[in-house]
Subunit: 331 residues, 2 copies
Amino acid sequence: MKKIINHPEQVVEEMIEGMVLAHPMRLRRVPETRVLVRKDAPVAGKVGLISGGGSGHEPAHAGFVGPGLLDGAVAGEVFTSPTPDQILAAIKAVDSGQGVLLIIKNYSGDVMNFEMAAELAEMEGIDVRQVIVNDDVAVENSTYTTGRRGIAGTVFVHKIAGAMAETGATLDEVERVARKVIQRVRSMGMALTPCTVPAVGKPGFHLGEGEMEIGMGIHGEPGIRRSPLASADEVATVLVDHILQDMPCTAGERVAVLINGLGATPLMELYILNRKVTTLLQDKQLVVVDTIVGEYMTSLEMAGCSVTLLKLDDELEKLLSAAADTVGWKR
Amino acid sequence: MKKIINHPEQVVEEMIEGMVLAHPMRLRRVPETRVLVRKDAPVAGKVGLISGGGSGHEPAHAGFVGPGLLDGAVAGEVFTSPTPDQILAAIKAVDSGQGVLLIIKNYSGDVMNFEMAAELAEMEGIDVRQVIVNDDVAVENSTYTTGRRGIAGTVFVHKIAGAMAETGATLDEVERVARKVIQRVRSMGMALTPCTVPAVGKPGFHLGEGEMEIGMGIHGEPGIRRSPLASADEVATVLVDHILQDMPCTAGERVAVLINGLGATPLMELYILNRKVTTLLQDKQLVVVDTIVGEYMTSLEMAGCSVTLLKLDDELEKLLSAAADTVGWKR
């Protein structure tokens, strides 16, 4: 295991310390937790937005904390759900009296723990709503998931619900737009190499030198098939085809695209992939309004990528392009 | 070689096509070149800023093209200098009559070709100046370099000269501030794993499972020593010590820090490294005004990092924090 770390058991704690030291004007740590919130949280009159989950997906989720995006992020151990008490602490830290929306990726542990935290918060009189993101079209059920997994499309939910909350919208409205994004977002990924959870010390799976896995999850969960290494154009075609089979789009529809790197894939390769993805979408006469390329939802040092498609309408397009000021969302 | 590419010989061409397809409102390709410029170039009344070099360092350099930063970037083959005719095309595309500054990393091929392009441009009546960045304190001469190498500190030169140019400053002023940054910026890196140039097809060097190399260059050039894998805190200490030995700082001085990932290093590890870097600087009573963590000057899929320190003054601090709108500079 080759990593720039100190103790494998301390990586999450030390990462959080390093983040706060790097961004003291943006992020504040809720004392004695692994919760990072906006420096100015709770923001008066604003619905609070919380996301989180296992660590190892950076910049998700704390990298998206800031004006126009999330109010707080809860960091579990690597690839492990945060506990309900941590999530509760986040909810309480960002609630300004307008209620809190939890944006949860669909993994059984996350769903259970966020739900429990929501119940505890409700008992303290906080209005809490939950939305569950399940954008991965690769498989119906998976290692840690009943139903589809939540992957990089979650970032569009963060961004658009975040922009809505920033306008001063009510909890009802923020929840509505988050659900709308979830209905209209689909993703699929692939992996070239595994990653190593520090506390485990060895790779989570094995892929041969000439092999890749199509549809792999962001914790190394199995995809739909293992196949010989294909070209970027072939990978783009497989991913886009699966997404469009699941969510048909008609000529003239507007979409946003996220070409997401899983951690060890150079930007060069993501742009080469995007070249074909864009061409495929244009061939179907879809209008690509916005393309985002980079690392947004990673899997430690896994090499691979995912493609996400979001069907836009006027409301979503406007919210997607609204200003946001975080270290992880780059525009 | 596991890469998301089509043909190893086509990676630069297809990357550029993918970039323009992703960012059509930001970037424009100069026809029949590998030059990307601001959509609105040349910007009337503004000094033009050009950088570039071999590809494989993305987001450098085209990711830094946009308002407040570069006007254009020239992409050579992977780890290979662009040719003078390409650089000349970039100069001509961004010159608005106010002259052009070339920001060059200190590699012999780059220096020679940018210089030749500058001479050709001068013959066409364009006022061209050049600055050479040599921030890497690891070694005095290297594989492709006479004198010190230019690495991630170059990004601070881009940012600050870019901000100065955006104010409408003269070429003299932009050149002056670029030279000031170069005098006050120092970096040093380390690597855990090698990277593979696509057209070569195999890693550029070998590092054993328990080995790392301190002071390695961004093309895999030798560093100062190969040693057993050390902890993040030890790595931080070695890099910061070398930088401060070369550029002594006194208590109370203000600095900006860049913790740069080389391509395959998770953000988690960069933040763990930053934790110790910040602590070391604070222990010396330096004032860390700004910390940037992420991938800015990469080496394809190399695992490793560099630390850059920039000594600030009022002028540099103001220009560093000025607005910029590019896909690679994230604030």
